[in-house]
C-alpha cells in the first residue's frame, strides 16, 4: 500500500469532468447496464428519427412542388401557328380501379419540340413512355384491362425528374394525328414554382400531428433517461465511497446519459436512413416521395443532434436533484410541499386559447390563428402531463383500503406518483393527441369535401366522346353495363338581322330526352324546346337553324317544326340542366346522318362486375382517346379529379 501511484488531478477540472464522463460512458455500455441503456437508446433513437423526419418535411414539400411545377406544360399566347419547337398536347388522364393515371398525348410539330422532364425524346406515334409505377401496374394479369386502354408500344421509362413521386402513374403517348384543336400547343415544360406554403388548416394539422408524435417521444426520452435510476444511484454511492465527489458523480451520470444519447442518435440516424431507403415504396393517398427528396434541413438536423444529448443529460441531472448521494447511501430529499396550482395553468391556458378560436377561428384569418390553435393544443397536452401525477397522488391518497398489493401501490403513488405516471402521461398525451388529430382530419375532410349533387342512383359513369355513330352502342354493350342512355350535345346557329346566335341543341332518343328534360309524351320525330330561366336566344316553330352534321362539310339548314313542344328543364344525373332545342334523331331526317357534337352517355353498371367501369373506360378510349369519363359520386374532395382533361396547359 505504500507503493502509491501519482494521481493526475493537476490536469484540471475540465480534464476531471471528461474523465468522469468517459467512466460513465463505460458504465453505460457494460453488460450490467445494457437493458437500461438499450431502453434509452430506443427512446432517443425513436425521437431522433421522428425529429429528422419532421425536419425533412419542408424539403419534401418543396421538392414535390418543384417536381410538379417542372412537368407542367406551358403554352405561350404567341403560339397560334406550329413552329420548330412546338408540340400539340392533349390531356388523356384516366382511372384504373381507384387509381388516377396521368396521361398526355403528344405530337411534335417541328424538329425541336420540348421534351418533358424525365424523357430524352418524345415518343413517336404509337409509342409511349411510362413511369416505373405504371409499368408495374400494366403487368398482366392485374393490368390487362389498363394495357388494353393504353395499346401503345412502351419505348421509354419516365425518369425521376418527370414525376412527383415514385408511385406516380404517368404516361406520354405519341400521336400522328393530333391537332391544336384537339388540345393545346405548347413550347416548353415547367412553370415558375408555386409557393409550397400550407393552408391554415393543413398548417394546424401538421403542427398538431408533429406535437402529438413528438410529445410522447419527449416524455419517453425523459423517462428513459431515468430508467434504472435506483441502480445508478447505488452505483454512484459506491463511487462516492472511493472518492468521487458530487460533481464527479454528476459527470459520471452525464457520461452514461451521453453514451446512451450517442447510441440513440446513431440508432435514430440508422432508423431514419432505413426509413428513407424504403419510403419510395410507401404510398399514402396516392402520394409518394422520392428518397432523395427526404433531406433534413441542415440547421434543424444540427439542432436535433445537439438537443438530444442535452435533453438526456438534463433529464438525468434533473433526476439527481431529488436525491443526495452520499458514500454508501442514497438519501431521497423530502418531497417539497405540493404546489399543484401552477399545474393547472398550462392546460387552462390552452383550453381558453382553443375556446377563443372556435367557430372556425383556427382555420380562417391565416397567419397567427393556426399557430395559436397549435399552441393551445400543445398547452392542453402538456397540461395533461403536468396534472396527471398530482391527480394520481390525490386519488391514491383518497382511495379506500384493499389487499396488501393495493395498499403498497397506493402508498407509493400517494408518496410520489411522478415517476410512476410519466410513462402513463406519455400514453395519455398520445391518445389525447390522436383524438385531436382525428378531429382535425375530420374537419379537414369536411372543408375539402363538397356535395356534387350528382345522383349515382341514376348513373354510375358519365362518358363524353366525340360523335361516333357506333360509339353509343359500343358503350351500351360493354360487359358489365346494365343500362345506358346517350345524347349528342351541340349547338345550332340561328341567323338573324341583328346577327347570328348560337342555341344549344340536344339530339337523343325519347328515353334519353326524358332523363334530361321534363318530357312526358314522346315519339320518334318529336322536337321540344326548353327555355332557360334567365332568358336568351329562342327559336320557335318555323325558325330555320343551321346544324353541323357528321359527314358533311357544310352545315345543314333545318326548320323547327310546328309540332315543337315547350317543356321544362330537368337536371341530368350530374345535376346539369340543359336548355335549347331537344330533338329526337328522326326529326333530322332519315339519311343516316347525325348531328356533330359531344356524345354524352350515362351508364349504370352491374355492381357485381368490379371491372365494369374499367371496361367502359377502355371502350370510351377506343372511341376517343381523349374521352372524358366521370365516375358519379355524391361527394368529391378538392384534390380528386376526373379522368378527363380537367384543365388546360398553363399559360404564362
Amino acid at each position: 500500500m505504500s507503493h502509491r501511484i501519482s494521481p493526475t488531478a493537476h490536469r484540471g477540472a475540465a480534464f476531471g469532468r471528461v474523465r468522469a464522463a468517459v467512466m460513465g460512458a463505460r458504465f453505460a455500455v457494460s453488460r450490467a447496464s445494457w437493458p437500461r441503456t438499450l431502453l434509452m437508446v430506443v427512446g432517443i433513437g425513436l425521437g431522433t428519427a421522428l425529429l429528422l423526419l419532421a425536419s425533412a418535411l419542408p424539403g419534401m414539400l418543396d421538392a414535390r412542388e418543384r417536381r410538379g411545377a417542372a412537368i407542367v406544360e406551358t403554352a405561350s399566347d404567341r403560339l397560334a401557328v406550329p413552329g420548330e419547337n412546338t408540340l400539340v398536347i392533349v390531356y388523356a388522364n384516366t382511372e384504373y380501379g381507384d387509381r388516377d393515371v396521368r396521361g398526355r398525348l403528344v405530337r411534335a410539330e417541328g424538329a425541336r419540340p420540348p421534351v418533358p422532364p424525365g424523357l430524352r425524346a418524345l415518343p413517336g406515334p404509337g409509342e409511349m413512355a411510362i413511369s416505373p409505377a405504371l409499368a408495374r401496374l400494366l403487368e398482366p394479369p392485374a393490368g390487362a384491362l389498363l394495357r388494353e386502354r393504353l395499346p401503345y408500344r412502351v419505348v421509354a421509362t419516365i425518369g425521376d425528374d418527370g414525376l412527383t413521386g415514385p408511385a406516380d402513374l404517368s404516361y406520354y403517348a405519341g400521336s400522328a394525328t393530333l391537332t391544336a384543336a384537339d388540345g393545346s400547343r405548347v413550347d416548353r415544360f415547367g412553370t415558375p414554382q408555386a409557393s409550397a406554403r400550407l393552408g391554415p388548416l393543413l398548417t394546424l394539422l401538421a403542427v398538431t400531428a408533429l406535437v402529438v408524435v413528438l410529445t410522447p417521444v419527449a416524455v419517453f426520452v425523459a423517462v428513459a433517461s431515468r430508467f434504472g435510476a435506483d441502480a445508478r444511484e447505488r452505483r454512484l454511492a459506491a463511487l462516492r465511497l472511493i472518492g468521487a465527489d458530487l460533481s464527479t458523480t454528476g459527470w459520471i451520470a452525464a457520461g452514461e446519459a451521453l453514451a446512451a444519447a450517442a447510441g440513440g442518435l446513431t440508432a435514430g440516424l440508422a432508423l431514419f436512413l432505413l426509413g428513407r431507403s424504403v419510403i419510395g415504396s410507401v404510398e399514402l393517398w396516392q402520394l409518394s416521395v422520392f428518397p432523395a427528396d427526404v433531406r433534413p434541413a441542415p440547421v434543424l438536423a444540427a439542432l436535433v443532434v445537439t438537443a438530444m444529448p442535452l435533453i438526456a443529460v438534463a433529464a438525468t441531472w434533473a433526476g439527481l436533484r431529488g436525491v443526495v448521494i452520499e458514500p454508501l447511501e442514497v438519501v431521497r430529499r423530502a418531497p417539497r410541499p405540493p404546489r399543484r396550482g401552477w399545474r393547472i395553468v398550462p392546460g387552462l391556458t390552452g383550453a381558453v386559447l382553443l375556446l377563443t378560436l372556435t367557430n372556425g377561428g383556427g382555420t380562417r384569418g391565416g397567419g397567427w390563428a393556426p399557430w395559436l390553435a397549435a399552441a393551445g393544443i400543445v398547452l392542453v397536452l402538456v397540461g395533461l402531463t403536468a396534472l396527471l401525477p398530482g391527480g394520481v397522488s390525490a386519488v391514491a391518497a383518497r382511495s379506500g383500503r384493499g389487499p396488501l398489493p393495493w395498499l403498497l401501490a397506493r402508498r407509493r403513488l400517494a408518496a410520489d406518483a411522478a415517476g410512476s405516471t410519466r410513462l402513463v402521461a406519455g400514453v395519455t398525451v398520445a391518445v389525447a393527441g390522436a383524438i385531436a388529430v382525428q378531429m382535425l382530419l375530420a374537419g379537414l375532410a369536411g372543408s375539402f369535401t363538397t356535395q356534387t349533387g350528382q345522383d349515382p342512383n341514376r348513373a354510375d359513369l358519365n362518358v363524353s366522346t366525340t360523335s361516333d355513330p357506333t360509339g353509343a352502342t359500343a358503350l351500351a354493350t360493354t360487359v358489365g353495363v346494365r343500362s345506358a342512355f346517350t345524347f349528342t350535345a351541340t349547338s345550332a346557329r340561328v341567323r338573324g338581322a341583328a346577327g347570328d346566335n348560337e342555341i344549344p341543341l340536344v339530339v337523343g332518343t325519347c328515353t334519353a330526352l326524358r332523363e334530361i328534360a321534363a318530357v312526358r309524351a314522346c315519339t320518334p320525330g318529336d322536337v321540344f324546346t326548353v327555355t332557360p330561366p334567365q332568358g336568351g336566344p329562342r327559336v320557335g316553330p318555323g325558325s330555320v337553324v343551321e346544324l353541323a352534321m357528321t359527314g358533311r362539310d357544310r352545315p345543314m339548314a333545318w326548320t323547327v317544326p310546328r309540332s315543337t313542344t315547350e317543356v321544362a328543364a330537368a337536371a341530368d344525373p350530374v345535376r346539369q340542366s340543359r336548355y335549347g332545342l331537344f330533338l329526337t334523331p328522326e326529326a333530322l331526317g332519315t339519311d343516316g346522318r347525325s348531328a356533330a357534337g359531344r356524345q354524352i352517355t350515362f351508364l349504370r353498371l352491374d355492381p357485381n362486375r368490379h371491372d365494369a367501369a374499367d371496361r367502359v373506360r377502355n371502350a370510351a378510349t377506343r372511341i376517343d382517346p381523349s374521352a372524358s369519363i366521370l365516375t358519379l359520386t355524391t361527394t368529391r374532395t378538392a384534390c380528386s379529379r376526373t379522368s378527363a382533361a380537367a384543365s388546360s396547359p398553363a399559360r404564362p
Binding site: 452505483r235 472511493i242 454508501l328
Partner: protein, 233 residues
C-alpha cells in the same frame, strides 16, 4: 519499529453526532497511528460504525474534530473530503462497495481510474487480485461471484491505490467463519506489508484478534481503556 513511534496519523477528539433525536456519538475520541491495526468494538448501536464514518470523512460530525495528517477533516468541503478518501483511504465494508457494472478487475482499478491513473490501473488491479488469490475473477462481474469472493475483491481494491489508512466495517459480517478468517488474514497481511493503518469495526472478538489494539465504543463514547490483544492468530 514500535508503531507508536511513527506518530498519530488520525486523531479524533470529542466527536458528537446525532441522527434526528438519537445520539450516535457522544464525545468519542480515538487516535490511529501509522501502520497499526485498530479494532473498534462495541455492542450493536454503540456508535462504532458512525465513528468509523467520521474518521473516514464519510460523515461530518456535529461536533469535535477529526485531524488526518494535520488536516482538519470535519470542516473540509465535500470535494476535499472526497479527494482525501480517493487518495489516502481505502475501504472494505460488509456489502455494497463494489460497483456492479465493471468487472471485478475493473472494480479494483476504479479508485486509481477515478484518480486519473489509466495505464497502471489495470496492472495494479490484477496484481492485487493475484495477491488476494482471486485473479480468476478479474473478468467476472461482482453480481456473478459469491459473497466471499466479492469480499476478497473488495479487500484487493482497498490497498490497490496505496492508501495510508484502510477502513473496514464488519468486513466479515456476511461471510462464514472460515472465509472470514481468510479475508481478515489477507487484509491485515496486505496492510502490514505496506505499512497502512487499519481501522476495523467489528463486534467479533475473533476478528478483533487480528488487531494491534482495541477501542471499545459504548453509548457513543470511547472509554480510555485500550489494550493490545494477547495473541494474534
Amino acid at each position: 519499529m514500535n508503531r507508536t513511534e511513527l506518530g498519530a496519523l488520525l486523531v479524533a477528539a470529542d466527536l458528537r453526532k446525532t441522527y434526528g433525536a438519537t445520539p450516535a456519538l457522544d464525545g468519542a475520541s480515538i487516535e490511529i497511528n501509522t501502520g497499526e491495526v485498530v479494532a473498534v468494538m462495541g455492542p450493536s448501536g454503540s456508535g462504532k460504525s458512525t465513528l468509523l464514518h467520521c474518521l473516514a470523512a464519510i460523515v461530518t460530525p456535529d461536533g469535535g474534530s477529526v485531524r488526518y495528517a494535520g488536516q482538519e477533516l470535519s470542516t473540509m468541503s465535500d470535494r476535499g473530503r472526497s479527494a482525501q478518501r480517493q487518495s489516502d483511504f481505502g475501504f472494505v465494508f460488509q456489502f455494497g462497495q463494489l460497483v456492479p457494472e465493471p468487472t471485478c478487475g475493473e472494480n479494483v482499478a476504479l479508485p486509481l481510474r477515478l484518480n486519473g491513473v489509466r495505464r497502471q490501473a489495470s496492472a495494479r488491479g490484477r496484481e492485487w487480485l493475484e495477491r488476494l488469490e482471486v485473479a480468476e475473477l478479474a473478468d467476472r462481474h461482482p453480481g456473478k461471484v459469491s459473497g466471499g469472493q466479492a469480499q476478497r475483491v473488495a479487500v484487493a481494491r482497498a490497498p490497490a491505490p496505496g492508501p495510508r489508512v484502510v477502513f473496514a466495517d464488519e468486513p466479515t459480517g456476511a461471510l462464514d467463519s472460515l472465509t472470514g478468517e481468510r479475508v481478515m488474514h489477507l487484509l491485515t497481511s496486505a496492510a502490514r506489508e505496506s505499512g497502512a493503518a487499519v481501522v476495523l469495526v467489528t463486534h467479533e472478538t475473533r476478528v478483533a484478534a487480528y488487531s494491534d489494539r482495541e477501542v471499545v465504543v459504548r453509548d457513543g463514547r470511547t472509554p480510555t481503556a485500550h489494550r493490545v490483544p494477547a495473541a494474534r492468530p
